[in-house]
């Protein structure tokens, strides 16, 4: 049983974690906190629609039980930007038409935001040639790092174009614009 004081901070607000140990982080965000921007596409870690940032790192929230997040800082799409005040990444998705049905989109954007931080932190991927240098955001790097986020509508080319634009604009201080 989770302690009655177990809390996680979601988008800056502390919330008590759910009592049911079966409740996933995804279900908690969507059902208990009403943050339905985070989507359920498979509930099995196969699609990336449920991607959120926990302590600044992206995870599939469907694969994590809510009670495991005592004390964690969680950020969802709702905190990245609002319709009236879109973040540059969100704006770039709109301009480049980086979505169609929009169902995978919050996950893509959360993933992209974390990806920029991972690049800035020098994390390597299977596409990275030189493991000691800071990886450069080539299209191949971006595609590899975004491959956990499926888009059945097939907006991939436009998503990468949106990312490239935001990363280029952010060349000097990687990872802060998103």
């Amino acid at each position: 049983m989770v302690s009655s004081t177990a809390m996680a901070v979601v988008n800056g607000v502390a919330n008590p974690l759910p009592a049911d140990p079966r409740r996933t982080l995804l279900e908690w965000l969507r059902e208990d906190l009403g943050l339905t921007g985070t989507k359920k596409g498979c509930d099995h870690g196969q699609c990336g629609a449920c991607t959120v940032l926990v302590e600044g790192r992206r995870i599939n929230s469907c694969l994590s039980l809510a009670q495991l997040h005592d004390g964690d800082e969680i950020e969802t799409i709702e905190a990245i930007g609002t319709p009236d005040k879109l973040a540059p990444l969100q704006r770039a998705f709109v301009t480049h038409d980086g979505f169609q049905c929009g169902y995978c989109t919050p996950g893509q954007i959360c993933s992209a935001k974390a990806l920029m931080q991972e690049l800035a932190d020098g994390w390597a991927s299977a596409q990275t040639e030189d493991l000691t240098a800071r990886p450069s955001p080539t299209p191949e790097e971006l595609r590899e790092r975004m491959s956990g986020n499926i888009c059945r509508c097939g907006a991939y080319s436009n998503i990468i174009a949106a990312l490239e634009e935001v990363i280029a604009a952010d060349a000097d201080h990687q990872g802060t614009v998103a």
Binding site: R23, Q100, N158
Partner: protein
């Protein structure tokens, strides 16, 4: 409000009104108006509505392929925490409704038609409670005594001629094959496909007195209300479906399916709102599959490479009693010449989930095979595959003799080839090697039939000079919000910021729905006609002729006089319902959207892995209504083409028809890493026969033939011709040339 304008589309509307308007928004690559909602997670999809006090239902699927339900052991499950009900109702559906059926499918879940068919619904206070109870529910069955076939190739499978698909027979194909200078006779296989829309099917159902309201993820709401009503034996006018955002459909949400009916029944039984969201696995197991196909293609030419004989015969499958048979030869009927022909489809009756429409039914698998066969023919004749296609475009549809409304195929082939750099292709295989990779190029034509369907929309020009467009038309990612606003903005002379579009609610006039690439042109035509009616009224106020009334940025002008719309309206709204019905133009002309695909692939010389390196598509589909969203439709189609070529395949256990790869981990749709920067060329044209907008459908065109171009590129790269899609490593590897031999 007046009655709809005369609506049957019997003669092509050559006035080309949209080009005479002055606002200049039609066709422009404008952003989607709902974009900011979608990128910020604030667009509300079906499962996300905050309906007070709803409870959760989870479907229970059959563990046998055929038989009847004997006992449902309800009591232990009803004793579990939070469980409210276990329902197995005669009105619950066994199968999904086929697109545009407008009536109930096979009902009563006490009988099992296929493995994993829903047999019950468990309802509980929370999702976790309902899910666990559904897993715990024990069901006893009586197995069916009649032997059934699970494999379309089994000799036990009954094979029928589909009732609504007459074979096309002309001349003497056998003789043409005998007399041909060059010919091929090949058999291809394509596997089953899943739509796998990103948003799983979801419905929240609740009753207000005897009215049923559904927040349901569906594509064709006007039909869907009738289907639900028929399932529940109630009048359709007492059902309302609300679906402003639909997380993809691709055919899987054309007709209502298990969760919607179950939710409605449970909501009634419990007198509480009930939400049923299918799990990803349930979507795979119970909603429409695209049938696998076996296709025989025969092509015969004279010495100059002109086709004199064409055969395309397909073997597909479906459950007994289903009318739908994958219309594999649909585009073959009109694409290439050859008066000696035999085109036919036969359907094997087998026990798997319902087969139905998955993005571009017919062409998606028919075109990729025809286009691969055309590549084989080009090799046999010894001419360039682009040239072979250009040489074989008939003046009229063979056998029928119908004229083409318009056909941009030559332009697509030529402009696509130029942009792609087709002239650098080496005709013989195994000519280009980069490290461990063979490199090759392939081409294919694209074709998809065009359909105009019944649609209505209401446009209100408000006294404040803004416009409101309303229809139950859905936007499933297709760009409907954007294009309907652009049509109204152009016709009424309003900047796009002054036009609001409200969709996806059956309390609004019935649109065409999203399917068969007909949503935009049909509902768009209805919007245009409503605007025409408004323009007539404005013209009266202005004492002008509607044809000569110019409106731009809210200012109307005629004969040197200028007045603002607000002034003309004088405090009163004008609301008009426009409508369109398919008419004679559909019969008088062969209507289709056309295009061409060019692909460059790399094939790993040691493993047979295929990577798409570049892909260009050039498409002609009449007027482009929004260059940005139209391009996205094409991109999406091409991504599906990559999946169909390389990875997508439903795998069934042929002992019991159960789907083995029933999730996104095992059914491989393309991911970012599989898709290079795709290039799309939009070829502007005007097709008055297709619609008053001069536009044709584009939602499915991008897939129709795409996989053929990739397969042809594989052949060109490494010399391996695979006649079974997808081109997985195991099929390529055994036929690869010696990897240590350098490029020939």
């Amino acid at each position: 409000m007046r009655l709809p304008l005369a609506d049957m589309y019997n003669t092509p509307d050559e006035r080309n009104l949209l080009d005479t308007m002055k606002q200049g928004v039609i066709g422009k690559p404008l952003d989607r108006p709902e974009g900011p909602l979608k990128v910020s997670g604030t667009a509300t999809y079906s499962a996300e509505w905050k309906i007070d006090g709803f409870v959760e239902g989870v479907l229970v699927l059959a563990g046998i392929p055929q038989g009847t339900v004997k006992t449902i052991h309800r009591d232990p499950v009803l004793a579990m925490p939070g469980v409210l009900a276990v329902l197995a109702d005669e009105a619950m559906v066994r199968r999904s409704v086929q697109g545009t059926a407008g009536k109930a499918p096979v009902q009563d879940v006490h009988t099992v038609d296929y493995f994993a068919q829903p047999v019950a619904l468990v309802v509980a206070e929370t999702f976790e409670q309902a899910r666990d109870a559904a897993l715990a529910l024990k069901v006893d069955y009586d197995d069916a005594q009649v032997p059934v076939a699970f494999d379309p190739e089994s000799p036990d499978a009954e094979v029928e001629q589909p009732s609504d698909e007459e074979p096309v027979v002309g001349g003497d194909l056998d003789q043409a094959m005998r007399e041909a200078a060059f010919s091929i006779d090949v058999e291809y296989h394509t596997p089953g496909h899943a739509s796998a829309a990103m948003e799983p099917h979801a419905t929240i159902a609740y009753w207000e007195d005897d009215h049923l309201i559904l927040r349901g993820s569906y594509q064709m709401l006007a039909y869907n209300v009738k289907e639900i009503a028929d399932c529940l034996s109630m009048p359709a006018k007492k059902v309302r479906i609300i679906a402003p955002y639909v997380g993809g459909g691709f055919g899987s949400k054309l007709g209502i399916t298990h969760e919607a009916v179950a939710a409605a029944i449970a909501a009634k039984a419990l007198d509480r709102p009930v939400r049923v969201v299918m799990t990803r696995q349930q979507v795979f197991q119970t909603v429409m599959r695209r049938s696998e196909t076996r296709q025989r293609v025969r092509l015969a030419t004279d010495a100059a490479g002109k086709i004199i004989g064409l055969g395309h015969e397909a073997h597909v499958s479906n459950l007994p009693g289903e009318d739908f048979a994958e219309p594999v030869t649909q585009a073959t009927e009109f694409l290439y010449g050859g008066e000696n022909r035999l085109l036919k489809v036969e359907v094997a009756r087998i026990c798997r989930m319902t087969a139905g429409s998955v993005r571009a039914p017919g062409e998606a698998v028919g075109m990729q095979v025809l286009e691969a066969a055309m590549d084989e023919l080009a090799e046999a004749v010894g001419i360039d595959p682009v040239e072979l296609r250009k040489r074989n475009l008939p003046g009229k549809v063979p056998v029928e003799g119908t004229p083409y409304s318009s056909r941009m195929l030559v332009e697509a082939l030529e402009q696509g080839a130029a942009q792609f750099g087709w002239d650098k292709r080496k005709p013989a295989p195994c000519q280009t090697r980069e490290g461990d990779w063979w490199i090759g190029m392939g081409v294919a034509s694209a074709a998809r039939v065009n359909m105009l369907t019944l649609a209505e929309a209401r446009v209100t020009l408000k006294a404040d000079g803004t416009a409101l467009v309303e229809s139950d038309q859905t936007d499933i990612g297709t760009g409907t919000y954007a294009i309907l606003g652009q049509i109204a903005g152009e016709m009424l002379g309003l900047p796009i910021s002054q036009v609001k579009v409200v969709l996806g609610d059956t309390s609004l006039p019935p649109g065409a729905g999203s399917g068969g690439s007909f949503g935009a042109i049909s509902t768009g035509s209805a919007v245009m006609r409503a605007c025409e009616a408004i323009r007539e009224k404005l013209a009266k106020h202005m004492e002008s002729d509607a044809d000569e009334l110019e409106i731009r940025d809210g200012m109307a002008s005629f004969d040197g006089r200028e007045r603002s719309l607000v002034e003309l309206l004088d405090g009163k709204d004008i609301a008009e319902v426009g409508s369109i019905k398919p008419g004679k133009t559909l019969k008088d002309f062969s209507q289709a959207s056309y295009g061409a695909f060019f692909a460059e692939v790399a094939v790993h010389a040691f493993t047979g892995e295929v990577r798409v390196r570049r892909m260009t598509g050039a498409f002609g589909f009449g007027r482009v209504l929004n260059a940005k969203t139209a391009r996205s439709q094409c991109l999406g189609g091409m991504v599906w083409g990559i999946g169909s070529a390389l990875t997508e395949e439903l795998a069934f256990d042929t002992r019991d028809g159960h789907l083995v790869n029933h999730d996104l981990a095992e059914y491989h749709v393309p991911v970012h890493a599989d898709v290079p920067a795709l290039e799309v060329i939009l070829l502007e044209e005007r097709d008055a026969a297709a619609s008053p907008l001069q536009a044709k459908g584009v939602g499915e065109l991008g897939i129709c033939g795409a996989a053929g171009a990739i397969a042809n590129a594989v052949r060109n790269a490494c010399g391996v011709r695979v006649r079974s899609f997808p081109l997985t490593l195991d099929k390529v590897l055994p036929h690869l040339p010696d990897p240590f031999a350098s490029a020939a």
